[in-house]
Assembly symmetry: none
Homo-oligomer: 265 residues x 2
């Protein structure tokens, strides 16, 4: 069994149970304790969990009472190292003067941070409060927010009110985040709230690029937003397998793998 597959398994267990013992994982994964510990170590570095003596704990998605959007804050720490790499790579597909659309995924927020740092003449359209907050007052960034009804659990504006402005706006590149993407089922989500906004963004956009860490690949979630043929490119991390790359490329989706880069600028 591959390491990344184990990570995925561990993540799922953690999502379900909240915490696991190292020995339990040994049994489930059929590997030695050292391997499990090494896995947990890497996963902790990637902010995918918190290690504790005897096992690991989930990085709390729901810390009740403490206002809802902190849960979003917590979630954005998940796999943040990957997300930054992906965001950095995604920024290479943007040129000064263009207009880009960002939805409300956590990877979008990472991209917003890169944009704030690297661009001085860009229009950014978003339905994400966090992205808007990040780019609020950023020099040289023209910020357009969709508006609409605010959904705290997604930290974004949804409903058809959020789609109205797209009749007046053209987008060069739309960076789409997702819960799951597969060649067979296309791009899928857990919730359907945001799909209409994303669809509008896609319609308004010249080109759509999916930015998704490798844990989303091959995953089929509940609601289908569109097929893979609608997107021109997928940017992901090195967790993608050769096989998956071939499948996506065969379906007409170019694949870019974000690699660790050592402070180039």
């Amino acid at each position: 069994m591959l390491a990344e597959q184990r990570y995925k398994e561990i993540s799922e267990i953690l999502e379900r149970e909240g915490s696991v013992k190292t020995v339990t994982l040994c049994g489930i994964l059929g590997t030695s304790r050292e391997t499990v510990r090494r896995d947990l170590e890497t996963m902790e570095e990637r902010k995918m969990l918190r290690r504790i003596h005897g096992g690991a704990m989930r990085v709390e998605p729901e810390e009740e009472a403490a206002s809802q959007y902190t849960s979003f804050d917590k979630r954005k720490e998940e796999r943040s190292a990957y997300k930054e790499m992906i965001a950095e790579e995604a920024a290479r597909f943007i040129r000064e003067g263009q207009s880009v659309a960002l939805d409300s995924g956590t990877t979008s927020l990472a991209l917003a941070k890169v944009i704030r740092r690297k661009f001085r003449n860009l229009t950014v359209v978003t339905n994400s409060f966090a992205v808007a907050d990040e780019l609020r007052g950023a020099k040289g960034i023209s910020l357009v927010v969709t508006g609409g009804l605010y959904k705290a659990d997604e930290d974004a504006f949804v409903s058809d009110m959020a789609t109205l402005i797209f009749d007046r706006i053209n987008i060069d590149v739309f960076f789409l985040t997702t819960c799951g993407i597969s060649v067979e089922r296309g791009i899928t989500y857990q919730r359907m709230d945001e799909i209409q906004v994303q669809n509008k963004m896609m319609e308004a956009a010249e080109e759509t690029i999916v930015i998704a860490d490798s844990s989303k690949l091959g995953v089929n979630s509940l609601v289908r937003m569109c097929g893979v043929e609608e997107v021109s490119r997928l940017i992901t991390d090195s967790g993608i397998t050769k096989r998956q790359i071939d499948d996506f490329e065969a379906a007409g989706v170019r694949v870019t793998v974000a690699e660790e880069r050592k402070e180039e600028e």
Copy 2:
């Protein structure tokens, strides 16, 4: 059972019950008394609870949060005492279940704070980023943002894109802030950016109430938004003169003067 799992369990019990005995925890967690005590000790260090003889008690959220925030927040409040008073008064014209519109004035932000504190079933429509930020995740507040192009110097969304949603929305009360208001020249502003949004809000609203401190009274600024006959009420502070009250009332604008109140509820 892992230590961290026990902490979580204890936290949940404490959240539910308020306090818990050491022996009770022994039974629930299936560990010795020393272990429970050590757990409570660690958790006390982490400020997750307060130890008492025989067990532990929940720490009230205020205790921990207080130290960091209040000094800064209080000072901010002291400065804008008059706006607070006006906002407090304005809130009396709102009833649970209604929908209200707030524009991007500083007094609107003060009103948003009062709303967050006092209401649990309200729809708030705004084009102000600060107001949206204040009400983001507020319990029982349905937040609708106009969207549109973000103007940093007003911290608000403007342009005609910000007016689109008003075809779909009805407002009970619109609280209008202004640079100047006079019986002769009506409501006037320094800039014209926001006027179209405010006009739409007014159109969509059943009633419009101007909230303006007394320094704005009798002032004629550059751009006229509408006449005083369009507004039903003016809420201001005690700096207003008897003469001014009479003039406004004669023009059909009822006047409410916000007074200092001593913590009534």
